[in-house]
Subunit: 370 residues, 3 copies
């Protein structure tokens, strides 16, 4: 990837780590004897990083890439550090030139350093309300907010201090966003939606559209439906990130609830009156039908679907593509995806699927006749 910072603005490795939030991490820098702390202008993989980039090794199976990397510095575990020393000793070759950052949790330290770069490359914020934005007179804007071009903030809406709205966001009447949030371009909050602090909402997110509530109404014709107005709202906790084009519907009577620390990827559908527990992470293209409750610390793989009115307990892990059609009251991993195959093989096996009941009968008959 391109370098993130100009040489003039880039810190030394030691300065970078001093500026990074390393709460909860143990780390130390090991420079090659006589070497200076390298200037770090960006981050890269072991395979692609150059001499002004910091890289990291988290998975032991990539240990072999250390020998060939051009990275200026590498974050690695104490184990990997020791293994590298032993290897150098055994092979009698000079140690790799990169500076080592030995850390008990390289992946987390990498995340923290990346967060520093992410802030650094954004540069100074330009607080204020763009003149093309339409802000209701009684909307309440915190200090240091940024309201982008063509935003619409309706009556009584509240935007917490330090929160940034990209171009074209719409905040419905009476809705509220907490402090230090980041709404990318074209996020829509219907009225009656409450979002906590430090939210990250991506483009195309829609919070609070009507749940799919219909009652059969024979007075409108055979098979016709009348709308059940969705009078609840949406409540989203703190530290929630929601991916592009994901939709969370408002509740029928009570609210749809997204807990603290929940992470939703792109193009997810959360139906009315769903409840998602704290720190649950859901990958892209998942659909959760109405009134289902997902516990805390769950992970749901991409394109999984959850039927309505179910309960999933805490610490449930659903594999991608799996349809969960019944309650899951025991923590663990659950899977239900049809195995793919070469098309001709699939045809042969799929044909048998539709005779499985019969096949079982035939086995039973054979067993009886023994």
């Amino acid at each position: 990837m391109p370098l993130l910072l100009d040489a003039a603005r880039a810190p030394s490795l030691n300065a970078l780590l001093a500026a990074t939030d390393t709460t909860g991490l143990e780390w130390q820098v090991r420079l090659t004897a006589g070497a200076e702390s390298p200037v770090i202008r960006g981050l890269g993989t072991l395979a692609s990083a150059g001499r002004h980039e910091l890289s990291f090794l988290t998975n032991p199976k990539y240990h072999g890439q250390l020998a060939g990397t051009h990275a200026g510095a590498v974050i690695l575990t104490p184990d990997a550090d020791r293994a590298l020393d032993q290897q150098v000793e055994q092979e009698g070759k000079p140690a790799p030139a990169f500076a080592r950052v030995v850390c008990n949790n390289p992946y987390l330290l990498y995340a923290r350093v990346a967060q520093w770069f992410d802030r650094a490359r954004r540069g100074g914020a330009d607080y204020g309300v763009h003149p093309t934005a339409v802000v209701a007179p009684d909307a309440v804007l915190g200090d240091k907010v940024i309201i982008g071009p063509h935003c619409v903030i309706e009556a009584g809406a509240r935007i917490g201090s330090g929160t940034v709205l990209g171009p074209g966001c719409v905040i419905g009447a009476g809705s509220a966003i907490g402090a230090d949030g980041l709404l990318h371009a074209r996020v829509t909050l219907y009225p009656g939606v409450t979002v906590g602090a430090r939210a990250i909402l991506h483009s195309g997110v829609v919070l609070g559209a009507d749940g799919f509530g219909l009652a059969p109404d024979p007075t409108l014709g055979a098979g016709a439906w009348t709308k059940i107005p969705q009078l609840g709202g949406v409540t989203v906790g703190d530290d929630v990130e929601i991916g592009a084009n994901t939709t969370v519907d408002r509740g029928a009577l009570d609210d749809t609830v997204i807990g603290n620390g929940v992470k939703l990827d792109n193009q997810i559908m959360v139906a009315h009156n769903v409840r998602i527990g704290d720190n649950t992470a859901i990958a892209a293209c998942v659909g959760i039908a109405g009134s289902t409750t997902v516990g805390q610390r769950c992970t749901i793989g991409g394109a999984a679907m959850l039927s309505g009115h179910l309960v999933l307990t805490d610490d449930v892990h659903v594999s991608g593509g799996t349809a969960i059609t019944a309650n899951v009251m025991k923590s663990g991993r659950y899977t239900g995806v049809y195995p793919f195959a070469d098309h001709a093989d699939w045809q042969r096996n799929a044909a048998v699927i539709q005779q499985l009941g019969l096949l079982r009968k035939r086995i039973r008959a054979l067993e009886r006749s023994e």
Copy 2:
């Protein structure tokens, strides 16, 4: 949920029912002896409603909740009403304090009352065109329309009387929306799209994007595609609701057609030249491939997919997550979802799936050898 109306604006139960459209319903209010008709400020479930809220009982299995509800009034069936009387008599306890609304169809009456509240809480409309909207000189706007901030109405477009466009809607050249429609923020109609009366279109809906029409064009390179322009449009009937981020593509030559009374949930994909019959309801995340025809009064469960060039007759009900890959010419319910299991169990069973043809042979061999 929070109360919907201030005490000052809230009606008595009797006034509320008089103001509600109860066409086709039989109902009567039963107050406890000497009690006044309670003031109703909102709606709630039996479990959550308070004394100024109206609740309802539709499913007999929740009958037991009647005893403990704090609701000021409850809609219930004549059967439930009688059962409650008997229960009170047998147990010798005082009757529950709530007013009863005895009705032959509680769910429909609840829907109608909710519709009244939904209108009441919205308050008076503020007709007119927002000054930031861009409206072509030859666009035709009906009376009492509301065109929100940053809307764009292109040349020759027509908006029916009473129709409301939320912020940021785009109505393409020559497209038309009927009367009394409600387009939430950021709905896009391409040119050549016609929508009937009383439409409800949610945020992020896109009607009339190009269908996925490609022809192999070897002159552009091996395996290259050229675009087949999509020259048809989209025709949507009356009383249609379309959920957030749902897309309906325009036809290649003829139109894509959505019938009257069709209800589409969020994140649905309707491909070019699909036809959906009247009063069919489709849950979220469904994909319907090109040129497939779905009959009237069908229901399609969430995350189902329909292959292209199929016909589904009337009154077909597809379970969630099911892939429909062949015509369905007989009404009824169809399902095809792989059953999920604990991951280890799944691994064991999925491995056998890929040997099913072989397994059948082995059974046959055993049968022959008997």
Copy 3:
């Protein structure tokens, strides 16, 4: 469908074909003796076209429709042309009245003629920047661009000459679009996105939202996640079309890459660091998880899903609804969709699925006891 052009602007068949790009095609017009080249005002199917419309026959199984069509002209293969002659001769009836366009590739010629009509009906472009658009002073706009109402072009962004932006598009800081592109209403490019020439991006497309990168961070609480900033970008080649509400996430460190000539349908999700090879076409509702590489000239059917960190070689064809959960290193067609059935049949067979391991054991026991 309605006629595309007024009679006054419509060309004769010969003029139309002369104006159409027929590179790489062999074709000739056969008029009925004495007939003039018909005026062509639009295109239609054999069943619906009228006398001022051009139709086409590509699939021999519809040959029978030639006898009854009202089309003014029909594109057909030399084989179909000969077969029609023989049929006329055998039946002794007069030849159909339509003009014939005999061509070695009718579908491609139809695509090219449709492209001509598509340009013709759009009429003259109205170059320029709409006064409501917000364009950064240092953005670079090519000549003959159209920037629609309420667009936002951020600092340093570049728009190639001849490119059109519909209403409400947002082009992030430093992003670039090549020449002759068409962005429909409400397309969003985050910063750091590069799109090649002749792109067609449909409404609701989001390129460059953050990939779903999370690291467990126990310092934030049990099971809590911290964000891994997504510092890479998105690179999209030339001649790419992307359907409505499709999202392509930016890379974590390196870019997410969409090759030349790639065609993506609606509501597709392309996760971070995915790479899609040239001329691959992907139908709607597909999800591709992070770091997966798809080869050249692949086709992926609707609602398929690809797990992360996989490799699919060139010329792989995945059937709709299939979950690809392992590398595919051999070209060919792959399928894995559970066959649907009448609900009661499904229940019976699905129950057996969960006993397949057991069933296999029972067969083994029977085999042993023989």
